[in-house]
């Protein structure tokens, strides 16, 4: 895997470290978000549907890593590293966070792969957030939270809200953040800066 990362896909040391750092930055943001979430939880938890509106933000690390690095594996690694650090910082879902990270990263990766790692525009990124939301609903969240025991209309409502949340918070917001940061010129050694504005 080490060799293939470098030779086949042209990953530099900088790409690897940057992906790790994106994972860490967003793990800290996830942690802060979890605190906010814990605070709003009692107010929105009356309906499982409204709760899903918050979920998308947990997919953002993969999107940001993919947008900056623009190479195969970036979304997957970014989200996985964010999950590892999240677990270390403390999360109520514990070791399941690792599994969530693996699944969410793989789902986002699949969408970028479908566009042959060539397109990182708002459409693709939104699609990746949406798809991640869909996949991670069934595994692992349905398993850990027992969603499948809810009635069908509630499940459909949750899925719709979740996918919108994934598209906006997990996809578009990630792209927007990379755009803001790219304007400062700090990404000059990354593939993203070779894009036309």
């Amino acid at each position: 895997m080490e060799k293939s990362l470098k030779k086949q896909y042209g990953w530099t040391t900088l790409d690897v470290v940057m992906t790790a750092v994106v994972g860490v930055v967003f793990a800290v943001l996830y942690w802060a978000y979890n605190q906010l979430f814990a605070f709003v939880f009692p107010f929105v938890s009356a309906s499982p549907v409204t709760l899903q509106a918050f979920v998308g933000f947990w997919f953002i690390a993969g999107t940001v890593a993919a947008c900056i690095i623009q190479k195969p594996g970036a979304a997957f690694l970014g989200e996985l590293i964010a999950a590892i650090i999240s677990m270390l910082l403390g999360s109520i879902w514990g070791v399941w966070v690792l599994i969530s990270g693996l699944v969410q990263g793989a789902a986002a990766e699949a969408v970028f792969a479908a566009f042959r790692y060539k397109k990182y525009n708002y459409f693709v990124v939104t699609l990746s957030g949406l798809f991640t939301a869909l996949v991670s609903f069934f595994f692992p969240e349905s398993v850990t939270e027992g969603y499948l025991a809810y009635s069908i209309p509630i499940i459909i409502g949750m899925l719709v809200v979740r996918m919108i949340s994934g598209a906006i918070l997990g996809g578009a917001l990630g792209k927007a953040i990379t755009g803001w940061v790219a304007k400062t010129g700090v990404f000059k050694n990354f593939k993203i800066s070779k894009e036309k504005e």
């Binding site: 895997m1 080490e2 060799k3 990362l5 530099t12 040391t13 900088l14 690897v16 470290v17 940057m18 992906t19 790790a20 750092v21 994972g23 860490v24 930055v25 800290v28 943001l29 942690w31 605190q35 979430f37 814990a38 939880f41 009692p42 938890s45 009356a46 309906s47 499982p48 709760l51 690694l77 590293i81 590892i84 650090i85 677990m87 270390l88 910082l89 403390g90 999360s91 109520i92 879902w93 514990g94 070791v95 399941w96 966070v97 690792l98 398993v143 850990t144 939270e145 027992g146 499948l148 025991a149 809810y150 009635s151 509630i154 953040i177 803001w180 940061v181 400062t184 700090v186 990404f187």
Partner: protein, 272 residues
């Protein structure tokens, strides 16, 4: 509210291989996740608690300091699950509350307690892991035992070291804003703008740090050769095998005992 943190002690849990510990915890979590009654997660929560304070030699005070702020979330998860559980009066006759088509039965409460206690169980076992595992050993163990690419592993480790620095960075950005007279308005739009004002400088400094680390790694020929040696060796030792066997037996005995008393139930359909 605070981060979970590694607490250095000389204990059985601390001496275990991180990946062995993680995998044993994960296998137990996987099994308990398919159980739909509150007794199993409750008993395993107690086991986790005992493992933390006895086998991990962590003071009870430390454990409570980390759990208490999360109790509200656990209560929220329980209530949500009770409300959302799909149940029908004709199947489960013990109705506790009903308003039109909306009903809460004994089984909905059981479902809610299952999900709530299960989350407590997840929380306690992940705490056991984090509190007794040195992050450096964990990453090295991921590289050695699970074949995580070393560059990714050491990159992550370098990143993990940034966590306290990010906090410092956050404070200095905050002070920079204050000194320039930036008001912190309330409301959703203002909050979003503020998020942007913090996220961008944070990302910029993080990127710069990443570049410095990458240059340092390259200039020291990090991973120039496919074979490498390690300063800190993290191996699977005899104690890991003994622990895994004993832990496995204890878990199986608990499951069998629960089944013996007719308390064990698999799958949410058992509640319908």
């Amino acid at each position: 509210m605070q981060f979970f943190e590694y607490i250095e002690r000389d204990s059985v849990m601390h001496s275990l291989n991180p990946v062995v510990k993680l995998v044993s915890i994960f296998l137990l979590m996987l099994a308990v996740t398919f159980v739909y009654e509150p007794y199993t997660p409750l008993i395993f929560s107690v086991l986790a608690f005992l493992q933390i304070i006895i086998m991990g030699r962590i003071p009870v005070r430390e454990v409570f300091k980390m759990i208490l702020p999360l109790i509200l979330v656990l209560a929220g998860i329980t209530i949500t699950s009770i409300i959302a559980f799909n149940t029908a009066a004709e199947i489960t006759p013990a109705v506790l509350f009903s308003a039109g088509r909306f009903i809460i039965t004994v089984n909905s409460v059981k479902f809610g307690l299952t999900i709530g206690l299960r989350t407590l169980f997840f929380l306690l076992y992940s705490m056991l892991f984090v509190i007794t595992t040195d992050p450096t050993d964990f990453i090295i163990s991921l590289i050695r035992q699970l074949r995580l690419p070393a560059r990714v592993g050491f990159g992550t480790l370098a990143g993990y070291r940034f966590v306290p620095l990010l906090g410092e960075e956050y404070r200095s950005i905050h002070q920079a804003h204050r000194i320039r007279g930036l008001r912190e308005d309330k409301g959703a739009v203002a909050k979003f703008r503020r998020f942007r004002k913090y996220a961008v400088p944070l990302m910029v400094t993080a990127t710069r740090k990443a570049q410095r680390v990458a240059i340092a790694m390259d200039s020291k020929c990090f991973y120039a050769y496919p074979e490498r040696t390690y300063l800190r060796e993290v191996k699977i030792r005899k104690i890991d095998i003994i622990y895994s066997i004993i832990f496995g037996i204890v878990c199986i005995v608990i499951f069998l005992a629960l089944r013996n008393y007719g308390l064990l139930a698999w799958g949410y359909r058992s509640l319908r």
